[in-house]
Symmetry: C2
Subunit: 341 residues, 2 copies
């Protein structure tokens, strides 16, 4: 019986995760049962939402149990199949977690069409992060030509796509990112109209200068401080898709609910704001259209992406802890195995 | 030249309006020019939004200038016409303000169809307040059968229609109102499933008990304290149309923007909330459908309404100051003149 490796949740973090919250284990790779396949992981995607799964507070999803394999989207090769739909050598999109091998029910697996792009993009610009950007911006944000779209974490997997799609739609795109290198990349490589450093103590004033006509769409994927700077610049009828709050994921406890309703509701009313939370699965029906459009934009060079690759499953915890602090530059992936074994 | 009376803004209020902020004036009623009509006011509508027009802070509308006639929707009789579209005796919906007579451009006037209901309803259940309820609830709130809709100021012009339309759509309607008489009316006459007194110190606990399945739609037309009780009960995918904030209209200044973004955004995301500000003119295209449906519901007894009538233009300021404190019971009107002179 071949041996595999996996990373399990050793304990629940309090605040920022530490190496002690993870444990690398060896395990015997079993044979697939009827309707199942055996997968060899090639790419593991690391995403901020995983921090939520490590805690057992209230959320829209079940937490990973202590001792359970860390959750995650993967690009895998089928190396054994007891399902008529899949054959050895098929490359599939799975949710098989932080492991070199996994048994999976065949039903939820999707074959990856290599004609759409490199297979790693199935967990990046053509996967969950890309579709989060696409549906959140187009279905909720609805940017019109000449409007101003602001997005934080602008060099990241979601933010980079948000700004570039905004440009495709004729809007101005203003990014916010951490540090000069990322800001330069966002402006020069991705073609945003401007990008500001969220560490700049003058962020509020600089954002105001960068948005002389106000802000029509704020794509909220960070939470906290950036929104404080955005809030006074929102135009009437502004839309605020809310898809992630990475800045809060390490918070020790749910913040209290102070009496902020007054300020909030006054602005919501007088500016006719729309603030709407979503997760990408709320828009599952838009998947085919997303894949068709986004792969075309990537092919035409209108949407570029960058991958930040860490080698080896054993390095996934460190890469993940870095991701939560913004140490990555582009879509964070773990190369668990070679594309062709 | 006949004499008319009008009430002008004598000075801008700081906090609650006082009688000194208003001044009753006599004026010479002029003759209409080409394309104009001379109006005799029958019904003047008093509405909370007027408090906003008395201040010159930032808003979605221009303030009334000091010395200018107080703004307001009216039901009037045309008593002289220099417009081919209108004849003496026509009953029209106008925005001619707190005055017994007014010259008006004919173009924005609308003839009132008396077949739809008593002419006073053109500024009530079949007018701006009714359409605010209809579009805010149906276009933004979108209540589904079996869902729970909560509305504050439930005995008022907007709130009473919101709850009854929710019932038409098969939802549960929970009202919040000030005092036992209003709550009894909301439950027994309007047929809400329950109604709670916002002065009750146990409001939060009682609201929780009244909403055992949580809250799917909160129609925000009050602002402040009620929303604090509603917030923790909101279900995933709850919708919050925001159309008015009467509790804040007398605030001395715009409240500061504290660091509440954390708590807010966490709930918006994990519950996939939609919070959307609107004013009824944003939905002007829905007017015909509103009139057709709402007049049918009123005819069938599915939507009831109550009018709180004050006699005489000179009493409008006192009635308006009472409205801001919740002293009215139902749609506040001023009978400026008889229906038939």
């Amino acid at each position: 019986m071949p041996k595999g490796q996996r990373i399990v949740l050793a304990s629940r973090p309090v605040g920022e995760p530490t190496p002690q919250n993870f444990r690398l284990e060896e395990f015997d790779v079993p044979a697939p049962g009827e309707g199942q396949v055996l997968l060899r992981t090639i790419w593991l995607s690391l995403d901020p939402y995983m921090r939520g799964r490590m805690s057992d507070g209230p959320s829209y999803a079940q937490p990973v149990p202590v001792g359970g394999v860390m959750e995650g989207g993967t690009v895998c090769e089928v190396i054994d199949s007891k399902s008529p739909g899949f054959a050895k050598g098929d490359i599939v999109l799975a949710h098989s977690g932080w492991a070199t091998h996994a048994i999976a029910d065949a039903k939820p697996l999707r074959k990856i069409d290599p004609a759409l792009g490199p297979i790693s993009t199935a967990v990046g610009v053509l996967g969950m992060p890309g579709m989060t950007a696409y549906t959140g911006l187009l279905d909720i944000g609805q940017p019109k030509e000449g409007e101003t779209v602001v997005v934080a974490a602008a060099s990241g997997a979601v933010g980079s796509a948000v700004g570039q799609i905004a440009k495709v739609k004729g809007a101005r795109a203003i990014g916010i990112a951490g540090g000069k290198d990322k800001c330069d990349y966002v402006k020069q490589e991705l073609g945003f109209d401007d990008c500001l450093d969220h560490r700049d103590p003058d962020l509020a004033a600089k954002l105001k200068a960068a948005c002389p006509n106000g802000i029509d769409v704020y794509f909220e994927n960070v939470g906290g401080e950036v929104f404080e700077a955005v809030f006074p610049l929102l135009n009437a009828f502004a839309r605020i898709p809310v898809c992630g709050l990475i800045a809060q994921y390490n918070a020790f406890e749910t913040p209290p609910t102070p009496k902020w309703a007054t300020a909030l509701m006054r602005h919501v009313l007088t500016k006719r704001l729309t603030i709407r939370g979503f997760i990408v699965s709320d828009f599952a029906g838009r998947r085919q259209e997303f894949l068709r459009e986004m792969s075309g934009w990537v092919r035409d060079g209108k949407v570029k992406y960058r991958e930040h690759v860490t080698d080896g499953l054993e390095n996934a915890p460190e890469a993940f802890m870095g991701l939560l602090k913004g140490a990555n530059f582009g879509k964070q992936l773990v190369r668990v195995g070679p594309e062709r074994a």
